[in-house]
């Protein structure tokens, strides 16, 4: 199956957060769009085991006001699309609510599960996104959900590859991570949010050749790319967005950007507490480099709404 809905190319993006325009300084002018996570605009209460998400009104309003003149894409954190016991209906409810107030060009979610149950049926939250096994059953679970999400919002839905640390995940038919991603996008018609830093972490942590693996990816599925920089812990590169993008990840970007015909956006991800630590100057330098690669490699004009 080909990509069901192809997005309009946007260009260069950044993680939305409170007071972003001020924090980025000149870097703000380099942005074509921002990536909003509805979860971070919410609070969660748990009553008798039942979760309830609700927007924090002031934060939601700030997000809506600050994105009035810049395109938005959505990057969810809490859907748990890979949970066999069911995904988070609460997350979808808040995304529905957001969609009523702000249009978005596409939305994405981590290819992972967090919600499960204990053997007696008690709900269990894993506290960290965990990977799915590369099995037929996992593909059969996620692909229809991804397809349903494309239809629900009438914009592309993207799955994001995960950083994980558990070696030798169970597999069938000799699938590795790339084959798993290919099967999912092929069978669902959804796109791929290729997190190059996540993929780089996996390549370093498990000792495989990142470029060789990427060469087997269905390039037409790549709609968005994430860049980030993180830290090592106990010999593992970890998925934490606190630093500048490492050089090998830039090289991966330069390799893949001209080969991905449907690439519509590249986002530099930085977690909120790290933004003042990195500072506007370094962030602007990173965004300038992203901009140069987008303009050089992608051969497409950015979404000119600003």
């Amino acid at each position: 199956m080909t990509i069901v809905i192809k997005p309009t190319p946007l260009g260069v993006g950044f993680t939305w957060q409170s007071n972003l325009k001020t924090a980025l300084g000149r870097g703000w002018e380099l942005l074509d769009f921002v990536e909003v996570s509805p979860d971070v605009l919410c609070r969660e209460t748990i009553t008798n085991g039942t979760r309830h998400l609700a927007y924090q009104p002031e934060l939601l309003q700030e997000a809506l006001d600050s994105t009035a003149e810049i395109p938005v894409v959505i990057h969810g954190l809490g859907l748990s699309i890979g949970s066999a016991v069911g995904w988070s209906e609460e997350y979808l409810r808040i995304l529905d609510e957001f969609a009523q107030q702000q249009s978005f060009h596409w939305h994405s979610e981590h290819l992972a599960f967090m919600l499960t149950t204990l053997p007696d049926g008690t709900p269990l939250h894993t506290g960290i996104p965990l990977p799915l096994p590369f099995t037929d059953e996992a593909v059969a679970l996620v692909a229809p959900r991804a397809k349903a999400l494309c239809e629900r919002y009438q914009v592309p839905f993207l799955l994001e590859n995960l950083t994980y640390y558990l070696p030798g995940l169970p597999t069938e038919k000799g699938r590795d991570e790339i084959a798993f991603l290919n099967d999912l996008t092929q069978q669902s018609g959804c796109g791929l949010l290729l997190d190059l830093y996540n993929f780089y972490c996996n390549a370093v942590n498990f000792g495989f050749d990142a470029l060789e693996a990427l060469s087997r990816l269905r390039m037409e599925s790549v709609i968005e790319i994430h860049l980030a920089g993180g830290a090592a812990h106990e010999g593992f590169l970890t998925d934490i967005h606190t630093r500048e993008v490492p050089e090998p990840v830039w090289q991966m970007l330069e390799w893949i950007a001209p080969r991905a015909p449907n690439l519509a956006g590249i986002v530099y991800e930085v977690m909120e507490p790290a933004v003042p630590l990195l500072g506007a100057e370094r962030l602007t330098a990173q965004l300038t480099r992203v901009r140069r690669i987008w303009d050089t490699c992608c051969q497409r004009s950015s979404y000119a709404t600003r």
Binding site: R51, P57, Y164, H233
Partner: protein, 190 residues
């Protein structure tokens, strides 16, 4: 649903800290390959890092939102009680507030020091009041919580801010009211 059982097993290993060989396999429909994989990962650094990151995220949330209580506990006692809390209480949410409220209730249940118990109650009530104000709860839904301190609260807070010893415990009670309707959410007295 084998995938559901596989996720239960992996969730128990990562979030509950269950050793793979102690999983209730008779209640779980796992393939031999899945069982072998769970055994295989039990000694891997990858599992340790996964668990460590999960605990680190949880601890970060607590240290960010329960600053008053953690300051009152002091470095060593805070580290010990946070570790105990994380071991005894499974993760229920990625959100800061539910985790921190549970932690503050845990601290209150674990300490017999009147100041620490009162501070945990106070901080918990402040977080709830702030949450209530943030969602613009109707007036009839708003609650006032009275916390009884065993020393003048302003002296306890001043000691915490200045890194000094907490004042002596008094037999007298020093009430504090916490409500989302109050300026800064609290005031001395009932």
């Amino acid at each position: 649903m084998p995938l559901a059982d596989f996720q239960t097993a992996l969730g128990m290993v990562v979030a509950v800290g269950a050793a793979p060989h102690t999983l209730p396999t008779s209640q779980l429909n796992l393939t031999p390959e899945e069982t072998a994989w769970l055994d295989f990962i039990s000694d891997t650094a990858g599992l340790q890092v996964t668990c460590a990151i999960q605990r680190w995220w949880r601890e970060t949330r607590l240290r960010d939102l329960a600053r008053l209580t953690i300051a009152a506990l002091g470095k060593d006692q805070a580290a010990q009680l946070i570790a105990t809390y994380l071991t005894r209480n499974v993760c229920t949410s990625l959100f800061f507030l539910p985790e921190t409220l549970a932690f503050l209730s845990f601290i209150e249940s674990q300490t017999d020091h009147p100041h620490l118990a009162a501070l945990a109650q106070f901080e918990r009530a402040l977080l709830l009041a702030k949450e209530e104000a943030g969602r613009s709860a109707p007036a009839h839904e708003r609650t006032t919580t009275i916390i009884q301190f065993a020393a003048p609260p302003q002296e306890i807070l001043a000691a915490l801010l200045q890194g000094q010893s907490l004042p002596a415990v008094s037999a007298a009670e020093f009430p504090v009211s916490v409500s989302s309707l109050l300026p800064h959410f609290w005031r001395l007295g009932e």
